[in-house]
Each structure stands twice: as structure tokens, then as C-alpha cells.
């Protein structure tokens, strides 16, 4: 339950991002602010300070006050506000990709497992081919093409900076990882005694699928959801870090880590803070996954009552 509470807090904080930017940090997290200054303890402080040694400038570090709570990045933008905005994109992409992944995987797994024979062989081979690609290589090549050109499929046009691109890519690359176990489960359910019993009772196939197989599969999918979301979140961060996920000026936790990379020695908070955000979210999602699995096991209710 703690995991769930943490997630709620994270989601609420990310939803409150515009409010935070307007009322607390009072700066536009998407516009550079290289010449500005803020007042700290009665003293004006430049946001971009000249470096202690050598040339160049160093952004302001964590002030632990309203403005620039976590400091600024190399464009003089408020990192705390950017993390909240970035979290929206990270969560949205992870959730969207999870939705796409589970829907496709559930559909493919059920069709393959329940129809068997030729259809099953074809679908299983397609999944094998998709599986044979290293996930990141596939994602990188897909995004490299899609992000440079956008996508035009008949009436559907997706801009090259649309979030739909990373959502679709991340959703699709993980389909085999979910579809395989689902297919296996449907296969074993289709041969289980209770399905045999249903056949014997004269229950039509469609009704068996709907009443006996689907509820079991849906539970598996729901159990998969938080775990896949965690995985998708990591993948999104990795792709954005490689600048083939979310495109600037939009932010995600992955792009903020990338922004922080160059400041790692002087202002490590810029990279560490979104890293911690990712870690916290992923750990919470994984714990939530465990909790969901136990909650959906009808036999586990006895334990709860004790």
C-alpha cells in the first residue's frame, strides 16, 4: 500500500507541474534564462555564475528555497519544475506504452493460444522475429526513422515531435515479452479440465473464451501492468537520454538526466534528481505489481482475513 501511496504522490505532483511553475518557482521551465538573477538571503545571485576555475559559467546549485529548489540546468531553467513537467511525459509515455503493449499482447496471445494450429504458428513466428531483435536496437532504429520524418499512414499523420512516437515504439517492442506468457497461459487454460468440462456441458466456444479464459488472462495482464510500466519507464528514460525519445524543448526524466550529464561534476543534482525520481517510481511500481498479484489470487484471500 505504501507503494501505491508513493505513486499517487508522484502522479499528483506531476499533475501539479504548471501550478508549481507559476506559483512557486515563478519561471518558465521551457525558456532559457541565462541573464536572470534571484534574491537569496537578501543578496542578488546570478542564475548563471562564472565558473570558479577556467572559463564558462556554472548554473546555480540547489537553493532549497522556492525558486530554483534543485538549481538550474545549463539553460538556466528551474530543474525542479522541469522534473515535474518531465514526470508528466515519462508517466504518460510509460502508461500509454503499457496500454498498447498489453492490449496487443493480450489480443495476440489469446488468438494464438485459443485458435492453435496454423494461426498460432504464424503469430508465434512473428513474435519470435520481434523477440530476436535486441529491444534497444529495435527501438533506436524505429525512433531514428520516425523522429526524423514523422509518420504518414494514410489519413493518420503523426508529427515527429509527438509523444505518440515513443509511446508506440516502446509499446510495440515489448509485445512479445507479454504475448508469449499469455499465449502459454491460454494454451494451458484451453486444455484445462474446467474448459473441457465446459465443452462437455455444451458451452459454445465464444462463451468459453469470454467466461472461462478471459477472466484468467485479464488478471495476468493486470498483474503485468505495473511491471511493464516500470520497464517502459526505464526504456523511455534510456531512449530520451539517447535523444531519440522525447524531443526538446519538452522534457522527460531521461532528457533531464541528459541535460545533467554535462554538469555532473559541478551540479550533480541536475542528473541525480530525475534519476531518483525514476528509481522511486520504478520501485513503487514493482512493489505495486507484487501487491496486485496477491490481490488477484482468489486463494490468497484466506491470508488477508487472518
Amino acid at each position: 500500500m505504501l507503494a501505491f501511496a508513493i505513486l499517487i504522490v508522484i502522479i499528483a505532483a506531476c499533475l501539479a507541474a504548471p501550478w508549481y511553475a507559476q506559483n512557486i518557482s515563478q519561471s518558465d521551465p521551457f525558456a532559457s534564462n541565462l541573464d536572470g538573477s534571484i534574491t537569496l538571503a537578501g543578496q542578488p545571485v546570478d542564475i548563471m555564475q562564472s565558473a570558479d576555475t577556467g572559463f564558462g559559467v556554472t548554473p546555480i546549485g540547489p537553493t532549497w528555497t522556492q525558486k530554483y529548489f534543485l538549481g538550474a540546468d545549463d539553460q538556466g531553467r528551474d530543474v525542479a519544475a522541469r522534473i515535474l513537467f518531465g514526470g508528466r511525459n515519462s508517466l504518460l509515455i510509460a502508461a500509454g506504452a503499457t496500454l498498447i503493449c498489453l492490449t496487443l499482447a493480450g489480443l495476440i496471445g489469446i488468438v494464438a493460444g485459443f485458435s492453435g494450429g496454423f494461426v498460432d504458428s504464424i503469430l508465434a513466428r512473428i513474435l519470435d522475429i520481434l523477440w530476436a531483435f535486441p529491444v534497444y536496437l529495435l527501438a533506436i532504429s524505429l525512433s531514428a526513422v520516425l523522429i526524423s520524418r514523422g509518420l504518414k499512414l494514410g489519413p493518420v499523420t503523426i508529427d515527429s515531435d509527438s509523444l505518440l512516437i515513443p509511446i508506440a515504439i516502446i509499446g510495440i517492442v515489448y509485445v512479445p515479452y507479454v504475448a508469449r506468457p499469455i499465449r502459454g497461459q491460454v494454451l494451458s487454460l484451453a486444455r484445462s479440465d474446467f474448459v473441457l468440462a465446459a465443452v462437455c456441458l455444451g458451452v459454445p466456444r465464444a462463451r468459453i473464451l469470454w467466461k472461462d479464459i478471459l477472466p484468467n488472462v485479464i488478471t495476468t495482464l493486470i498483474v503485468f501492468a505495473p511491471l511493464m510500466m516500470a520497464l517502459n519507464m526505464l526504456t523511455e528514460a534510456a531512449l530520451s537520454f539517447l535523444s531519440i525519445g522525447v524531443q526538446p524543448p519538452a522534457a522527460s526524466w531521461g532528457t533531464i538526466i541528459l541535460d545533467g550529464e554535462g554538469l555532473l561534476y559541478t551540479r550533480p543534482a541536475v542528473a541525480i534528481a530525475p534519476g531518483l525520481a525514476i528509481m522511486l517510481t520504478v520501485v513503487a511500481l514493482n512493489f505495486l505489481g507484487d501487491g496486485v498479484r496477491e490481490a488477484f489470487d482468489p486463494r490468497a484471500k484466506i491470508r488477508v482475513q487472518k
Binding site: L196, A197, C200, D212
Partner: protein, 322 residues
């Protein structure tokens, strides 16, 4: 005698295992080979044999849960062998199955009431109130309380679960129930309860049973006639008492002598079989039992014995019956 409710003629069923180009090649496992059987209304026909002899396959094939490769199944005068599942559906109400493992044959995610109501809904039994009334009646028939309807299968003991399985099987008032080892997953004390319950239901509802078991004591209590199977064939079929007391097939004799004798003073000659049953993927030619039969002769190795009448109400597939 009245007309049989179920006739099986020369049923064969082969399962395929392995891959054609895989290690060991494709194996054809002959689970049933030319099995013929008649079941009469109101009787209980026992089906015994060791594991892997094809008794469960026979039970499932008779219900068309498996499609036979050859042979005919005639149920209540209708040939159902080549019937489509759609055409068969109305007939399914008349033939039901009880499974060995009640926890596997009841969907763990559905409530008991939902599970038992499923056949009623599928066969358009009637409105919700009518179904509810029938559910309560069924629960009463199998010795459970109506308030159990809203529970999940895992909240019951094994014996109670088997009662739920029975309630579902009798929901549509079938004439034939094939019980596939209905008691072998249960405690001995519960076994008797279920066997007695099945006998009571048989009396009240005019049921015909095919009772599959590997426990001869259970068969003796439950069945009037018994068919003994070995490696996909029926080797002997007849009245339970006759077969049990004076077995005619050497395999039946060995099977019966393997049952422990509760009276230590009663000494008897025991037939002890050597070796394992041969693989059904590669059954021996001639009589399938000749590799282990104490009385096997040259003829047994080449010529397959057919089921032939032997005494009253009994058929034996042996060249040299006891």
C-alpha cells in the same frame, strides 16, 4: 434386455507426440485400439485398468471430447461420431462428465452458483428465478447448503468440490454420466460418501454411469458390470462379481490378485506380473498382453484375440482363457 443407451464400435484413437524431424521422430501413441462397448440404461459400467491403459481416453472419446480416428459412437440411437459440435450441443445435455480432480475442473475464479448455473444458462433452462430454484434443488440433491452457492470452489474440501462437480453434471437431468476416476483424488473416508451419493442420485434420477477407476474395491462397490482395459484394448467385460471372483483373462486375474487381502489367514495363489507394460507407442503384435502373460504361447504373439462371448454375460479377449 433393453436397447443400449451408448454403443461404441471399434473405436480407435491415436495421439501424436514428438516432432517429425525432432529427436526420436514422430511417435504415434495408440490410446485406443478397436474398442467396442455397450452400455445399458440404468446400469453402472466400471472401467478399470492400470495408468495409461486408455480408460480416461475412452471416457473422453465416448463424450466426443476427443474425436475418434476410427469407429462409431451411437448415443441414444444417434450416430454422434461425425456430428459437428453445434449439432451435438442439444445432446450434450444428456451426457455429462465428472472429473477426477474437482479443483481443476471448476474454474477457480467463478462462484459455485455461477458454475452450476452455466449448463442451465447455455441450454436456455429458463428465467433467473427458475435457475435459482433449480440451483437450490441441486445443492440439496448433492448434500450441500444453498448458501454455499455464493462461495468460491477453493473454499470447499475435496469431497464437497466433487459434490459441486456432480451438481453441475446432473443440472440438466442427463441420462448418462461418465465419471472419470471421481473418487481417486479423495480421502478413503470421503470416497465412500461420494460413491454412495452417486448411487442415490442414480436411483432418484435414473442415471446410467460409466465409472472409471483403478481401484478394484471402488468398482466392486459401485459397478454392476466391469470392463477391464489393458494397453488400449478391452480384455474382459462382464458382471462385476463374475469377473472379480472368476476372472477369465490372465490380466484380470493378475490385477485382482494384486489387491491386498485383508484376512491374513486366507492364503491364495498370486499371479505376479513381470516387467512394465509395453509402451503404447509401440504395442506388441498379437495379443497385447503376451509379453507379460504367464500362459502365453506362440499363437498369442501373432494373432490378436477378439472379444468373444465366454459364459453368461461375459466376453473375453484371450486365446487361452482361465
Amino acid at each position: 434386455m433393453t436397447a443400449p443407451i451408448l454403443i461404441a464400435e471399434n473405436l480407435s484413437k491415436t495421439f501424436h507426440a514428438g516432432r517429425r524431424f525432432g529427436p526420436g521422430g514422430r511417435q504415434n501413441i495408440q490410446a485406443l485400439s478397436n474398442v467396442s462397448l455397450k452400455v445399458y440404461p440404468g446400469e453402472t459400467l466400471g472401467l478399470v485398468g492400470e495408468s495409461g491403459c486408455g480408460k480416461s481416453t475412452l471416457g473422453r472419446t465416448l463424450l466426443k471430447l476427443y474425436t475418434p480416428d476410427a469407429g462409431k459412437i451411437i448415443f441414444q440411437g444417434q450416430d454422434i461420431t461425425r456430428m459437428s459440435e453445434r449439432a451435438l450441443r442439444p445432446l450434450r445435455a444428456n451426457m455429462q462428465m465428472v472429473f477426477q480432480d474437482p479443483s481443476a475442473s471448476l474454474n477457480p475464479r467463478r462462484r459455485v452458483g455461477d458454475l452450476i448455473a452455466e449448463p442451465l444458462r447455455v441450454h436456455n433452462y429458463g428465467a433467473r428465478e427458475k435457475i435459482q430454484a433449480r440451483l437450490e434443488e441441486l445443492m440439496h440433491l448433492v448434500g450441500l447448503a444453498p448458501e454455499h452457492l455464493s462461495r468460491f470452489p477453493h473454499e470447499f474440501s475435496g469431497g464437497q468440490r466433487q459434490r459441486i462437480g456432480l451438481a453441475r453434471a446432473i443440472a440438466l437431468n442427463p441420462s448418462l454420466i461418465i465419471a472419470d476416476e471421481p473418487v481417486s483424488a479423495l480421502d478413503v473416508s470421503i470416497q465412500a460418501q461420494i460413491v454412495n451419493l452417486m448411487a442415490d442420485l442414480q436411483e432418484q434420477l435414473d442415471l446410467t454411469y460409466i465409472f472409471i477407476a483403478h481401484d478394484l474395491a471402488v468398482i466392486r462397490q459401485a459397478a454392476e458390470r466391469v470392463a477391464v482395459m489393458y494397453l488400449g484394448v478391452i480384455v474382459e467385460i462382464g458382471d462385476t462379481d463374475t469377473v472379480m471372483l472368476t476372472p477369465a483373462h490372465h490380466y484380470t486375474a493378475a490385477l485382482i490378485s494384486a489387491v491386498p487381502e485383508p484376512n491374513p489367514a486366507a492364503r491364495r495363489a498370486r499371479t505376479i506380473l513381470q516387467g512394465e507394460p509395453p509402451s503404447p507407442a509401440n504395442p506388441p503384435p498379437g495379443c497385447r498382453f503376451h509379453t507379460r502373460c504367464p500362459a502365453a504361447q506362440g499363437r498369442c504373439k501373432t494373432e490378436r484375440p477378439e472379444l468373444r462371448p465366454y459364459g453368461e454375460n461375459r466376453e473375453v479377449a484371450c486365446h487361452f482363457p482361465l
